[in-house]
């Protein structure tokens, strides 16, 4: 059972198209696995669409009246001519199974939302392997993180936010067990220490290096930027 979902506010921003690609893709992947959120998203989209195209929305902005309307008409006519001059229709894309990625001998099909995003080389430290998604979003880093059976991420906090979306397998932290589809958004108030008994694959987005808090791990802080 998926227990962790994106907050309503995040879904709203998603529907509006106001989130960066990394988080938008995370929500899309979650929604593909979670009919409940899928349904919320459809409803929200319908409402936002309706509101956007209501007449009064337009009228609020129209300062001047007929002169402007006429200019607009003229301009529109030429665009209409241009568009309708083309006979092309969009062919239906039937997507085959997307590309896949291999970590330590296991192959994973990439979720639809990220199948066209370029992946960097896989880097490894111990039981952790990470491949970066080349989204070029500045301080926001997006990765696929694979934890081998028995592996864990050292206890850490975050300076910014960290999204962990479990794609396959499971892991446990102080809050309990997580299963595929769980959407776990943490911010700097949280500390956690995920351990994966049987191994797992996560989609992670973080906007700053994480900060290790525990004993010897403090010395490991530089690898924070490796993991997320």
């Amino acid at each position: 059972m998926i227990k962790h979902h994106p907050k309503f506010e995040l879904l709203q921003n998603f529907v509006n198209g106001d989130l960066p690609a990394s988080l938008s893709a995370g929500i899309a992947i979650h929604a593909d696995m979670c009919p409940q959120c899928q349904e919320k998203i459809s409803q929200l989209t319908e409402q936002v669409a309706e509101a956007s195209f209501e007449q009064n929305f337009l009228h609020k902005f129209v300062v001047d009246d007929e002169d402007m309307a006429e200019v607009a008409e003229l301009e529109f006519d030429s665009i209409i001519d241009e568009i309708t001059a083309s006979d092309d229709i969009e062919s239906v894309k039937i997507h085959n199974e997307g590309p896949s990625i291999e970590f330590k001998g296991s192959e994973y099909v990439l979720p639809k939302a990220i199948r066209n995003i370029e992946l960097g080389k896989t880097a490894q430290i111990g039981k952790l392997s990470r491949a970066r998604l080349q989204l070029d979003e500045g301080e926001i880093h997006t990765s696929l993180l694979h934890i081998d059976p028995g592996g864990s991420v050292p206890e850490h906090t975050h300076n910014g936010f960290e999204l962990t979306l479990l794609l396959a397998g499971s892991f446990t932290d102080e809050q309990g067990e997580y299963v595929a589809g769980d959407f776990i958004m943490l911010d700097k108030r949280h500390q956690h220490h995920p351990v994966s008994e049987h191994g797992c694959l996560c989609y992670t987005v973080a906007n700053d290096s994480l900060h290790f808090t525990q004993g010897i791990n403090k010395l490991l802080n530089p690898i924070g930027s490796f993991i997320y």
Binding site: N96, A168, G169, H198
Partner: protein, 192 residues
């Protein structure tokens, strides 16, 4: 070997011998096809018509119309049953854009009785039928005691890409098909 010339209905579905499906027909050229098919020998459903125009080897399902009706909004509904699989060649289009082709009968494992059947697979199929009255009504005869029939019906129903299903068109693929259905319905081996 006898060759027949039959109308072709391009539609991406997987239909094995004795399989039945309902089609809704509303394009003029296919209405014509249906009237031809009623008078003569049925027609052939060809799943990958666009690809087969260029390729030599194409396989379709030769179907006969067993019932027809009109839907609430005036569409023609036909129920068709697959007689056998056929090799399709010499695809041509007539002036009404309707395709015709030469077809030859092709043997398939589902036509061979296999009595020993896996009870669980048969009973889960029974359940599917009992929950879908539309599907249930299509079949007058249901052969839940025959493994070949049960496996063939499951293959048609499973949500798997056509490309993948095509592996089971081969005459000798019955055991693969059986194992495949078992893996999905029973998941014998534990998986995560």
């Amino acid at each position: 070997m006898t060759t027949f010339n039959l109308p072709i209905f391009p539609l991406p579905i997987f239909l094995l011998p004795q399989g039945i499906t309902r089609l809704r027909i509303f394009e003029a050229r296919y209405l014509k096809m249906v009237s031809l098919a009623m008078k003569n020998n049925g027609f052939v459903i060809l799943p990958n018509a666009s690809a087969s125009a260029s390729e030599l080897k194409a396989i379709g399902s030769w179907v006969e119309i067993i019932d027809f009706d009109q839907s609430e909004n005036g569409l023609l509904l036909i129920d068709v049953r697959c007689k056998c699989l056929v090799d399709v060649s010499a695809l041509q289009q007539d002036e009404k854009q309707l395709h015709h082709a030469q077809v030859n009968r092709r043997a398939h494992w589902s036509e061979t009785r296999v009595n020993e059947t896996n009870d669980k697979i048969a009973s889960s199929l029974k359940q599917v039928f009992s929950h879908n009255s539309e599907l249930d009504n299509l079949y007058v005869d249901k052969n839940f005691q025959l493994a070949n029939w049960v496996v063939a019906r499951w293959l048609e129903l499973l949500p798997v890409k056509l490309d993948e299903k095509n592996a089971f068109i081969e005459q000798d693929s019955f055991h693969h098909a059986m194992q495949f259905v078992e893996a999905i319905i029973l998941a014998e081996e534990s998986n995560n």
